[in-house]
Amino acid sequence: MATSDRPFQPFRNLNAKIASIPMILTALVIFIGCTIWTIYYSFTKSKLLPKSNFVGFDQYERLWSTRRWLVSIENLVIYGSLSLIFSLIIGFLLAALLDQKIRFEDTFRTILLYPFALSFIVTGLVWQWILNPDFGVQSVVQGLGWESFSFNPLYDADIVIYGVLIAGLWQGTGLVMCLMLAGLRGIDEDIWKAARVDGIPMWKTYLYIVIPMMRPVFITTIVIITSGIVRVYDLVVAQTGGGPGIASEVPAKYVYDYMFQSQNLGQGFAASSMMLVTVAVIVIPWAYLEFGGKRRG
């Protein structure tokens, strides 16, 4: 930490402050400003254009009595927790596999990483196509003679969110793998040596020594995955359009649809404010511990 023990000196840091102006502006004007703006108008009944006709908590009451919003929240919880857990587990296992001094590591890594280069729109379309019951996996397996085979996640309300999850994991685990691999490469070779000398089995070394040492990697990864999960929109739109019925709706889509399709900005803002509150409850305490408090060495 280059500067952690240096006392605060306002003028010597003038250049740094000037250089930080874009960041400060973005933080204040865009993120804080827009958040306040959004919360402010969530108490109005703005329709197409923002207007200050206040209605108190009406928008919020309506929001929480809307079935579609409740389904969206439920889906986000399911999708979010599974996506986070599986991304981390699969990403880590893949990284551990690639870290076994294998041949063709570059090839394998590129194969695992390339889906990340494709947008969610593309990902959604491809998986919609593969999971299509009339053309995709289901019809192919049936064509092979297994007539009763049924795998139709996109048109089955109970499991559609898992269909989305398959696509989401396919797109995102490559990046997680990369971050994890980078983390593994950062572990000192001596630690492995020591563990070997002590006769600790490899899985124990990973679980009790390596993973705790990779804490920063996990944090960066979790930030990246979580921010993606909260905003998940394009993927659902491209893959299922929220269907069948409202079975794969997500909060970001609710926000967008109410803001623009039904021209009820107030309702959309109320929904997005709820998303922000949820995120804030999770992120702020963590961010405070991680960046705000005294830094660990």
């Binding site: 596999l97 570059d106 695992l112 990369c178 006769g199 995120v279």
Partner: protein, 309 residues
């Protein structure tokens, strides 16, 4: 899961033979290797499957697609869907496919990538080496901002851009990309610069170098790996962006993704899956090539310190 079993197994065997360090000679067909490579190949096939389906589908004619098997290789290879996707597919009255959007995408991506990275790297440097009172608070806000759904920001940003007088121009779009790229890039650069040895920094200070001097002469030359990571992330993100492209530009300057959306969503009669797939591949080609060529640098860059806290 097969791969969890592999690891403990191979340690025990590895331990017994463990002698001097360095890569040990291993017989290619050992049990460990068969399991290891077998697992990897199965996984690789799973990851490649969608790409395979896209390519195969884009080379088939519509009658063949209707027959059903999406995994079968094309009986008759046709490049017509590619030609159509690139130069003939219609949106409304414009029947020139994706070709219109390609240069627009380049014109949008290049300045956006350069400017967003320049700003974020200086920010990260200031946060890592020149922390001032409140700097971490702004950084926390920035990270928090990365959780806000983009859609919420559309209207307020329209108003901000209008007040700045840059709405609808390329400048406006570059500003938007710079703003939304900032959280993650700043995080990357900050973490990277934190890991640079303090002695270097102190020595430069003793020599009388200032904020910009140290940045340009010491930090910049040292941080090539992380710049590569940032460039790759930004090229991918900005090239794939649809929402900002469609909202903050106009038809003359629509990026390729907007054209892709238009082609995929303009169903004229039958849905032409082959043209859609060809269009999808063409649009994804630039980020794909970037990844295939520089995937190695990407991992190296991240490993070089991007993920150190």
């Amino acid at each position: 899961m097969a791969d969890t079993d592999v690891l403990p197994n191979n340690t025990s065997t590895g331990l017994e033979t463990s002698g001097p360090r360095g890569p040990r000679p291993r017989p290619m067909l050992s049990r460990r290797n068969i399991i290891l490579y077998g697992t990897l190949i199965v996984i690789a096939v799973y990851y490649l499957l969608p790409l395979y389906v896209m390519i195969v589908t884009s080379l088939k004619g519509m009658p063949e697609i209707r027959l059903g098997n999406i995994f079968a290789p094309p009986v008759e290879v046709t490049f017509q869907p590619w030609v159509k996707a690139w130069a003939e597919a219609c949106t409304g009255l414009n029947c020139d496919g994706l070709s219109r959007g390609f240069w627009n995408s380049v014109r949008i991506t290049v300045p956006s990538v350069i400017i967003s990275i320049a700003i974020a790297s200086v920010n990260g440097y200031a946060l890592a080496n020149w922390r001032f009172k409140g700097s971490e608070i702004f950084f926390t806000i920035l990270i928090f901002g990365s959780f806000i759904p983009y859609q919420v920001m559309i209207y307020p940003i329209v108003i901000v851009l209008r007040e700045l007088g840059v709405y609808g121009s390329l400048t406006g779009l570059v500003i938007v990309h710079t703003i939304f790229g900032m959280p993650i890039l700043t995080l990357l650069f900050r973490n990277y610069f934190v890991s640079v040895p303090e002695e270097l920094f102190k020595a430069a200070r003793v020599d009388g170098a200032g904020f910009w001097g140290i940045y340009l002469r010491i930090m910049l030359p040292m941080s090539l790996p992380i710049f590569v990571v940032a460039i790759i992330l930004q090229i991918t993100g900005i090239w794939n962006d649809f929402l900002f492209g469609v909202v903050y530009t106009k038809p003359d300057t629509y990026p390729m993704t907007v054209q892709l959306n238009n082609i995929v969503n303009s169903v004229q009669g039958v849905k032409e899956y082959n043209v859609n797939m060809a269009a999808t591949i063409i649009t994804g080609l630039v980020p794909l090539i970037v990844y295939f060529l520089s995937g190695k640098l990407f991992v190296r860059g991240i490993a070089a310190g991007a993920v150190k806290g």
